[in-house]
């Protein structure tokens, strides 16, 4: 089976609420896609993503693997940067756990094992 990646640029999610962002992610993940978000999720969004995932779990959909790298702290500085249209560094990768088996990380590196 071919593995599909989807790249979501900062511009795509610009101006969208956290709720809307999470809905976009969930939709793609449910279609067996692995998503790479140019703009990393904040801790509050990661929390929301886990809660949404928990309500979506069924026998056939066991959940997600997610990994955020870089500046994920939603502090004032990064909010100001975002408000001014700039980008904070980092990224988030999300995929369905029946496709992404393992995510290994260290502070600046990310490696994941995917396949069916």
């Amino acid at each position: 089976m071919a593995i599909q990646f989807e790249f979501i640029s900062s511009d795509t999610v610009m101006g969208k609420s956290s709720e809307e962002k999470i809905n976009i992610i969930m939709k793609s993940v449910r279609k067996d896609k692995i998503l790479v978000l140019e703009e990393p999720l904040t801790p509050a969004e990661e929390k929301l993503l886990i809660m949404k995932t928990m309500t979506a779990i069924t026998r056939d959909f066991p959940g997600i693997e997610v990994c955020s790298l870089g500046n994920t702290v939603d502090d004032l500085k990064s909010r100001v940067i975002k408000f001014l249209g700039g980008k904070t560094s980092g990224l988030t990768v999300v995929g369905p756990s029946n496709l992404v088996h393992q995510v290994k990380r260290d502070p600046n590196k990310l490696r994941f094992v995917a396949g069916k």
């Binding site: 904040t42 801790p43 509050a44 990661e46 929390k47 886990i50 809660m51 995932t53 928990m54 309500t55 779990i57 026998r59 066991p62 959940g63 997600i64 693997e65 997610v66 990994c67 955020s68 994920t72 702290v73 939603d74 502090d75 756990s97 995510v103 290994k104 990380r105 260290d106 502070p107």
Partner: protein, 207 residues
């Protein structure tokens, strides 16, 4: 800032009457309930939670209210909250592998997902959080990072507990290296090693 002073005093006043809530957080199976039982046993003589090698044993928030901890003559009353382990996936097949029937496994998975939501909802309401990690495993998990990120964003005091140091393969130094901004206490919740150090840290942080 006179108002800030007044505010602090008022907070202290209300805190004095209200017990601190201490949330025990972490990945699944790291020994949260074993630790909750250890704390509860030490100060009340009673256990509070069920422990199991099967993941997602705790599927709702287990509370033990008004537990008084005394360190160096100082007393602190806490409400202990043993949280369900947080995960980004819950696969019922895993429980079947432990010998559970398919029906029981699916029921357990359903309860586990509810428990995770409940634990996350509590995140912003605890006064202190212990984040328990299994010192034998890679500490750099998304769950740990998400829990810590949310606690940090809300300025909730955090103590990282490097658990299971009685095991040969324990490498608590990896935890210290991964989260240098936090204090880490190395313990064995099972054997009771070093829990006094943890009590000291809790009392120190609760003000």
């Amino acid at each position: 800032m006179p108002f800030q002073g007044l505010f602090k005093w008022l907070m202290g006043f209300f805190r004095g009457r209200k017990a601190f809530s201490l949330g025990i957080y972490g990945n699944v199976n790291t020994g949260k309930s074993t630790l909750a039982n250890r704390v509860s046993m030490d100060w009340t003589g009673e256990a509070m939670s069920k422990v199991s090698e099967i993941p997602h044993e705790t599927r709702e928030v287990i509370k033990k209210e008004r537990v008084s901890i005394k360190v160096d003559g100082k007393e602190l009353t806490i409400n202990l909250l043993d949280m369900p382990g947080i995960a980004t996936k819950v696969d019922y097949h895993e429980f079947v592998d432990y010998g559970m029937s398919k029906g029981d496994a699916q029921q357990r998975a359903k309860e586990a997902t509810k428990g995770i939501i409940e634990a996350i909802k509590w995140l912003e309401h605890v006064d202190i959080a212990l984040v328990v990690m299994d010192a034998c495993l890679d500490p750099y998990t998304q769950v740990n990072i998400t829990i810590l990120g949310n606690l940090e964003a809300r300025n909730i005091p955090v103590i990282i507990v490097a658990n299971k140091i009685d095991k040969k393969s324990a490498k608590p130094e990896r935890i210290r290296a991964a989260f240098p901004q936090h204090s880490v206490v190395e313990i064995s919740a099972l054997k009771g090693d070093n829990v006094n150090k943890l009590y000291e840290e809790i009392v120190k942080r609760a003000r």
